[in-house]
Symmetry: C4
Subunit: 436 residues, 4 copies
């Protein structure tokens, strides 16, 4: 019925897929270069500033004794140390200082030996600033550190410093270099280049998505109108209510998908223009919007593959099996949650993978899908015998139950649905030939 | 038959699930913070006290030569070294000393060169104590170590020390800080905070579980009574014995599950109150009881999902396939055990994963479920040719047999059961409509 | 129909498989020894020349500060340092020098503090040469390094050096030793040994493949001729066109496979002779050609296994299921690509595995097939909450969709095809017996 | 037919399983303790003697420059260094010296600069001995090393040393301590304890196995006799030959398994007695024999499970599917071998997992079964573009083909066989009831 209008919308969709993908790829490539540059610099900074920093696979930590807090000296000579182009930030003609801040409780007398303490839980923050210019002439570096860290009351020590650099490598790729501000732990970036071409392209994307959005909305509205007419007709003639399932038939799910995708794409492109014109810097939201839009657009391609009959049977199978799979997942999730809670509370203190509730969820999910099981077993080794025994029963039962029973049932579900759909299609075909 | 009474019990069950989960989560969160604190401190201690300690992925060891036993000096100055709040334990106004204990055979003359020895297998233990207060003034640290370790007879050297600290970070979360005693290797904790709210909540949990327990026990007892009546009736009228399978029909398995879960929950909550009132410290038992109870409660939710017909088919499939899966597991376990014994005895001396029998079990189980196989192959490389060949045949045959044959048969079992159940249900439905 | 001619061709094919495999194995074994030698030397060089070089699992980097560029001194004494047989290359009686080259922008004034820069993007390259002979007598090594590295404009510093060595270990295996030139980063090799036996063997391979090629081409040409005759006959008698599927029946796919394999083998063996006679050094192309040829030859063996009926059913199943699998893959690839783009743009800046587009593809493909999932989850931990949430939804949905739905559908496809083929074969057999 | 004689043999088999398992476990436990002791000592020695030794996950290497060969000095003071009980071996009242041996070509003039060499491929071996006793008084350690290593001709340097130690930890477990000789690289052990109890137990095992062997051999021989009689009877009455499949029916496969297992067990126990009486030391052969025997005995338990009908169907399925699985494996192995050869020759020089042919086999086998794929992809990254592209096509096609097609077909095979067997059994049962 609705197929007469397709070629026109189809063309818009194909163009949309192309330009959205191109937009995404250019965006991604420019970010890739930037992120690599930032990462390499951050790593170098960590090694320079954090004495004894090591990049282990499983987590990074540095252990300091009281005497080790004097690492700041390295900062003062950074221009001489590193090979890159780094400069201190200068605000109003003055260098931005390095701030060494400590947070501590306002007033406390703690005596762990007697197990007594008297703490005023208000937290004070005290900073000292070290200016790069001044400290080069006076060599006695110990002098600015009369900060007098009161370790008894101390909560945390943070070092803030601001550096600027220019990524010269980008010049080779015909881009103007970007300038970066490094705050030691969180890194923000400032784009100085307004690429007019990119802006124009983003506008094209917005336009295309808007057209697509209009067309699809019109189709959906028509469908809804038709549904209301049908309902009133059915109600007046047969005096029966139309079920929700029948009403839903009038609304094409693919149009809803396209509308959502277009909305995301328009918002994302708008944000991207905002980022490129230095108007805002919320990179994460922009990338999530653009990314999700692109994903939905690609998923939408399946709709056009469904026009071929042989492809259709596979898509139909997945769609038919979906409710059963979801239903079964509900049951499985109950057992899964039970295991999660139980594992968290019992094994949490003994195994890193069971420390927090979301880690347990991820760890168990990974175990079902064939993760490194032996390592999980291994680290549970040198515990009290009861915990050891519990962990064994827990892991063996969980894995056996989920891998052997649950996964097999998924396969049984899909296999059964596939055969049902296939027989259904074979039965229907002769009928349609009789109609012809 | 039993469905008329449900809404009342159902409500209690739902409330029970909610409060048990809340209890577990609060318990878990407070432990999480404590465990993180302990772990970080332990790691710091290890690095401070054990010279050359390294945190490898595969296991930790430290290698000492005779000259390295003098690490104790660091302990004496710990208050100056670390940043945290640490103090020596003080018993009766005196500092608890650091004890350096050696275990050795009482009397022995060993000459490995001549392969002769003469040992009195009685083990002596000798300790020296180092007091923190005294040794700070006298700097000659070698003097307390005239312990004269007789390396010929030595079995092990242990260092015991007791430190106290206060976790100040918890103050921010409106909890009173906990005090910890660190014994270098095993860490216990003492709760000083009696959270009356928590105690009250635990009592509510106990109450709810007790009510649920009573109701379910009554149902089970009624079922058993009905069964006895039925048996005697059947015996007197038809002069036939009722089979065990039929008798079991009268006892609802779900009630048994709820009873077990409630019993565990009540015991666990009781222990938890004991822990929080400093009455006892057996954290492991308490967490295992509470964790298992929560798991069973969540698993019990499946019962209510089973009231919907479409969910029911999946649960029925799993239940119907269960006996066959267990039966098949019996067969598979025989082959599995054969492989375990064989791998342990042959490959044990050459591969770390095959060193002990329980490791072999875990390693092979992990291999079936898609563990890192190449690493297992790799470490078997530079051995004698015969062992190398054996390990290859062993691993290839084991993996092929279990992954290709056994796992496939599981899927065949479940698929078949699913179809049987489905046909059974479709056949039964017309009949029930005829009845109506 | 075509089976009468087989025994003759079969013999050639069997001989071909044998000699091609032998050729490959000898080629591979000689390369294996060479590659091991090169690798060990390269690793030793890296440790010697790159100060602080560490061979991490996840990637190698070395961090230099400005003061560390003076590592060249080690080079000058290499003959005294290493245990192997190394010598400087000598061209026209003079030693080849070590070149220390820097690439930099021609003219630039960069001030990162003011965010201003003025760069001439033309890249200059400046090298200094250090001669091994001269610098041994003058010990002031700092003097040649008045290279004056201008770190502001610097892009990269490369060190080129040429060393020669002889692999004495090969003498034991009755081969003349090979000489290697090491350029520190890229390693090429020069074969000095012309093994006449190998050349003769390669010629035999070429001859055998050529014969096989001729025979198969003749068969294919005959098939095509027959097809044309059949088409014209069918067209003139029944006035109907023959479909492409029917036409394809005349061309045996296995012959095409053999022809492709023979062509690759002949070209590869030709290149191998070229390499061994020092005529060319393109090892990669040669190995790809020979490797692919060998693979195709082995795959071709399946054809002969297909003559047995019980084997045939399995091969037929795979062939019959193939189009459906490909069709289904098309649909799956659409969703897959959507996920790839989305993951790349959103998670790229936060996770190493999502940095570039081809890494995302590999990472997601590995996840489907049971890769280490927890590690992927783990590294996404300490990010902004929105990205963390997105990564969770992204990974859970992706894995569930692909492992539970897509992989199960593959199994359903194959199971269904197997049963179809089996029934087809059982139905056909009685008929063929009736014919007999 | 043969079931009447069972209870008698069954008892022997059950006793056999018990005692063989006990024998294996005691053997394994005593070896476990010994191996742990050896491993810890070896690791300590490596760290002591090999300067800069590091225990990486992926392989161990140590890099030496010419100056580092003087590590032997540590050996001379080993008794003062280590904590364990170590002594030099003393033969005829003299200490066994440490031997430092070098292997080199007899006569060579190599000039890598000119690419010329002139080698006499005969290998000489030259050793110097350092005696522990003498070198303690003369401190000039450089003097014994006028060994004059000629690095030009050098092939390898090995250090041999012999130490003795006594494992005192075993005394606690009521065993007499064992003495070990350490040869630095290969470790052998000498059992000094003749445990008469163990010997007696081994004899019991041999006796039980021998009885079982006799009984089973008798049964097999009877079966063969019956078969000959049947054949001649069939031949004389019906003038038809009996097929091999029918003849095989007379020989019970389980008896063959028991006979093989018994033979292995007797031989293994004999060897074990030999080892314990210091008669021989071939630990590997003994453990392989005992291990295989135990595995077969456990596998044999399945036979008795097969007497229950419900268990039988699963075993029958596996047995019926076995020939098809093997047949299909033949086809798959052809493609697999093709991939192995191709991957070895092309990717060998670039990836560690593809270096040797057996590694390729293991790596690909692991990949099919869900190994860490991303790591395999990752290390192929920074290669020439052509090799990179080839590796991508190679890996994607291999994994897709084997995981999606081959593994699915296995499942299809087993599912189909299961249904066939089930229908067969259901059809047969009514018939057997009619017979009754």
């Amino acid at each position: 019925r609705a197929r007469g209008r397709k070629p026109w919308k189809l063309m818009i969709q194909i163009v949309k897929i192309a330009i959205i993908t191109i937009q995404l790829v250019t965006f991604g490539l420019s970010n890739e270069m930037m992120v690599t540059f930032k990462d390499e610099n951050l790593m170098a900074f960590r090694h320079l500033f954090l004495k004894g920093y090591k990049d282990h696979g499983l987590g990074t930590y540095v252990l300091y004794t009281k005497a080790d807090i004097h690492f700041v000296a390295d900062f003062l000579g950074i221009q001489n140390l590193t090979v890159g182009n780094l400069a201190y930030e200068r605000v109003n003609g003055q260098f931005t200082p390095l701030s060494l801040c400590q947070e501590f409780y306002r007033n406390s007398s703690i005596d762990p030996g007697n197990e007594t303490f008297d703490i005023d839980p208000h937290i004070d923050k005290d900073c000292i600033s070290v200016y790069p210019g001044e400290s080069t002439e006076n060599n006695n570096l110990a002098s600015p550190f009369n900060l007098s860290l009161d370790f008894k009351r101390l909560l945390s020590v943070n070092v803030y410093l601001t550096l600027k650099t220019i990524n010269l490598q980008t010049v080779r790729h015909n881009e103007l270099p970007d300038c970066y501000d490094f705050h030691t732990m969180s890194v923000t970036q400032t784009f100085t280049l307004i690429d007019y071409l990119l802006l124009w392209f983003d506008s094209v994307v917005i336009l295309a998505c808007f057209t697509s959005l209009l067309l699809c909305t019109r189709s959906v509205i028509k469908g809804v109108q038709l549904q209301f007419e049908f309902t009133s007709f059915f109600h007046s003639h047969y005096n029966k209510d139309v079920t929700w399932a029948d009403r839903m038939e009038f609304v094409n799910g693919w149009y809803i998908l396209i509308i959502v995708s277009d909305t995301l794409s328009i918002t994302g492109s708008g944000l991207k223009i905002g980022i490129q014109t230095k108007f805002m810097t919320d990179y994460d939201v922009c990338s999530i919007l653009l990314g999700t839009a692109t994903m939905l657009v690609w998923v939408g391609v399946i709709r056009y593959l469904g026009f071929f009959k042989k492809y259709n049977i596979l898509i139909l199978t997945l769609r038919a099996a979906f409710p059963n799979v979801i239903r079964f997942c509900c049951c499985a999730v109950m057992i899964y949650l039970g295991y999660c809670f139980c594992g968290w509370i019992v094994l949490g203190p003994y195994h890193d993978k069971f420390r927090t509730l979301d880690r347990v969820t991820e760890c168990l999910f990974s175990l079902i899908n064939g993760d490194d099981m032996y390592a999980t077993f291994l680290h549970m080794r040198d515990k009290s015998y009861m915990v050891w025994l519990f962990s064994r029963i827990y892991l063996y039962s969980f894995i056996s139950l989920f891998i052997y029973m649950v996964l097999s049932l998924f396969i049984a579900l899909i296999t059964d649905t596939y055969e049902t759909i296939k027989h259904h299609q074979q039965d229907k075909l002769p009928v349609s030939q009789l109609q012809a």
